[in-house]
């Protein structure tokens, strides 16, 4: 436990030094604030609070931005240290390899949490003070923040897996971008293409549901865009959400699985690396 705290603390300090933390906070705050203040104009006509509208638009953008930020934080966590030569010394200390992986992961994940709390949380408070929030929309907003953290952590874990599998930092960067494209852009396009091509409706709804749940960004979308009545109406996902009928606990568990699985694979791979 002590080693985990030391390693996570070191990662956070490094993040603060490199101004990573500051950059992510600024980015997330700018995004949330601009959507909160400028994007809530249509609220009058559909009788939704500006905060509900912000959740819908912020969730749509978070799906693109947060995985990218997470992958950028994580892709060189292991291979970068290997390439710079700092890993060699670290592994001669009394720390287990799983502790190195998990400790660094905790540090990066906490950096993301802090950025979300300050960036998204700050925008939420601004909406509260401008009278654009009620209790229901606050719940949706907090769910958005929590699921964003899980989504980001899942992509940090994926970034770690990349970092443990390749031998060069540049390769890791390339693979990380490819992963982002796959999960965030291509996967849904592919799924959409599949549904369009299936004119005879031979694909069972269950299979489509499974395919949706096999992508963390889709799980995040389902959580946030069908979570509450107001938001799902705005997102045009009300029907879809009702039809799919996913249990919130299952969605959270799956997202947690998307954190644990790549992280577990990273540890398994990292244990076997000979320096």
């Amino acid at each position: 436990m002590r080693a985990l705290v030391i390693l996570a603390g070191n990662e956070i300090r490094d993040g603060l030094r490199n101004r990573w933390v500051a950059a992510i906070i600024l980015l997330l705050a700018a995004l949330a604030l601009s959507l909160a203040l400028l994007g809530s104009a249509p609220s009058g006509t559909v009788q939704a609070t500006p905060m509900s509208i912000t959740v819908a638009s912020l969730a749509s953008l978070t799906v693109y931005l947060l995985p990218l930020i997470a992958l950028m934080l994580a892709f060189d966590a292991l291979v970068g240290e290997l390439e710079r030569g700092t890993l060699l010394l670290l592994l001669t200390y009394p720390v287990a390899r799983w502790q190195v992986v998990v400790g660094k992961f905790l540090g990066h994940s906490l950096i993301l949490l802090a950025a979300l709390l300050v960036g998204y949380g700050g925008a939420g408070l601004v909406l509260q003070f401008t009278g654009g929030a009620d209790a229901e929309s606050w719940i949706a907003y907090l769910v958005l923040m929590a699921s964003s953290w899980l989504l980001g952590s899942a992509f940090i874990a994926l970034g770690y897996l990349v970092s443990a599998l390749v031998r060069e930092r540049a390769t890791a960067a390339g693979v990380a971008v490819a992963l982002w494209l796959l999960f965030v852009v291509l996967y849904d396009l592919g799924l959409l293409g599949l549904l369009l091509a299936d004119t005879q409706q031979r694909l069972s709804p269950d299979l489509v549901a499974v395919l949706l749940l096999a992508n963390p960004t889709d799980i995040f979308r389902i959580i946030n865009l069908t979570g509450t009545e107001a938001v799902s109406l705005l997102a045009g996902m009300a029907e879809a959400g009702r039809a799919a009928g996913f249990q919130p606990a299952l969605l959270v568990a799956l997202l947690l699985g998307w954190v644990a699985l790549p992280l577990g694979l990273t540890v398994a791979r990292f244990q076997r690396i000979e320096l």
Partner: protein, 308 residues
């Protein structure tokens, strides 16, 4: 049975694919002993260190460090009783020297209060609060030494420790190693700086293409190699050739001029020849004996003249 040796390798081999980096290397470093590990680049020195640290597994053979097999520790973290300085040590450059040392101290479970004393010991007290990115190579090396000494480990594994250090700091470093030995600790030092390691190591291990071609004290290796001892004799003016004729058998005349003779003989004949030279006084004024140094011994074994 408990072993007295702090480091033990028993017929250790390491291959990467078809390439054999180490072949049946056996050596032991006892308590309070300092062993110099010599060899050309690529001879297998760094691989040997990595094996001792459990960073990589041996293909064959047994390794024990402080009585435990480091291979068992692969993936589980190393014991705190080993201090390691890698060749070209690297640190997180965004942190200050003091922060780096405190980070490693905490990982090792060593009181961070000892860090400032260690930094002063390696002459980094004034630069301690500066970022490592502003450090010169020598300063990074000194920080590396400081971290290796954290918690006064029993076993020190040092890969090219004095690279980039000025002569004063080198001396301070070797004094620190000597102190470590006096406290019962052992050190395995890989080095190319033969002249400075010569007087500071108890035994020498020479690797050639992954094989241990020599292991013993300098005197033992010198004798085994049969390297000649050079004797320089100063005589009275014009007496050199006369002296040369009268010394007799058992030596080789390398050079002669009016009043000096340069001879060479086998180590075993040295005393006998010196005695004979003493008998030739007053024609012989002075005698200087040059035993082969570590440089010559190393050249002999590493060039392929030594036994496999």
């Amino acid at each position: 049975m408990a072993s007295r040796a702090s480091i033990e390798l028993e017929r250790v081999s390491k291959r990467y694919g078809a390439h054999e980096v180490l072949h049946e290397v056996s050596l032991a470093v006892g308590q309070a002993e300092c062993v110099a590990l010599l060899g050309h680049n690529g001879a297998g020195k760094t691989t040997l260190m990595k094996l001792l640290l459990g960073l990589t597994r041996p293909c064959d053979g047994k390794i024990r460090v402080n009585g435990a097999e480091p291979t068992h520790l692969l993936g589980k973290g190393l014991g705190a009783d080993i201090g390691f300085l890698p060749e070209n040590v690297m640190f997180h450059t965004a942190m200050s020297g003091r922060e780096v040392l405190r980070f490693y101290a905490r990982l090792k479970g060593v009181a961070v209060s000892t860090c400032d004393r260690l930094l002063a010991e390696v002459g980094l007290d004034e630069a301690a609060r500066r970022r490592v990115s502003t450090y010169s190579k020598g300063m990074r090396q000194r920080l590396g030494l400081a971290q290796a000494l954290l918690g006064t480990p029993h076993v020190l594994l040092l890969d090219e420790p004095t690279t980039g250090l000025d002569p004063v700091l080198r001396e301070t470093f070797y004094q620190r190693v000597r102190q470590h030995q006096e406290e019962g600790g052992c050190a395995l030092i890989s080095s190319h700086a033969l002249t400075e390691i010569e007087a500071r190591s108890d035994r020498v291990a020479i690797l050639r293409q992954g094989r241990l071609v020599a292991f013993g004290s300098l005197a033992e290796l010198r004798e085994r190699a049969g390297l000649p001892v050079r004797i320089r004799v100063v005589t009275g003016a014009g007496e050199a050739s006369g002296v040369a004729e009268r010394i007799g058998a058992g030596l080789h005349l390398d050079h002669i001029n009016n009043e000096t003779l340069e001879l060479s003989c086998l180590g075993g004949d040295k005393l006998d020849i010196v005695t004979r030279l003493a008998d030739l006084r007053p024609a012989v004024h002075d005698v200087e004996i040059h035993a082969p140094g570590l440089g010559e011994v190393y050249a002999h074994y590493s060039a392929g003249d030594g036994p496999q």
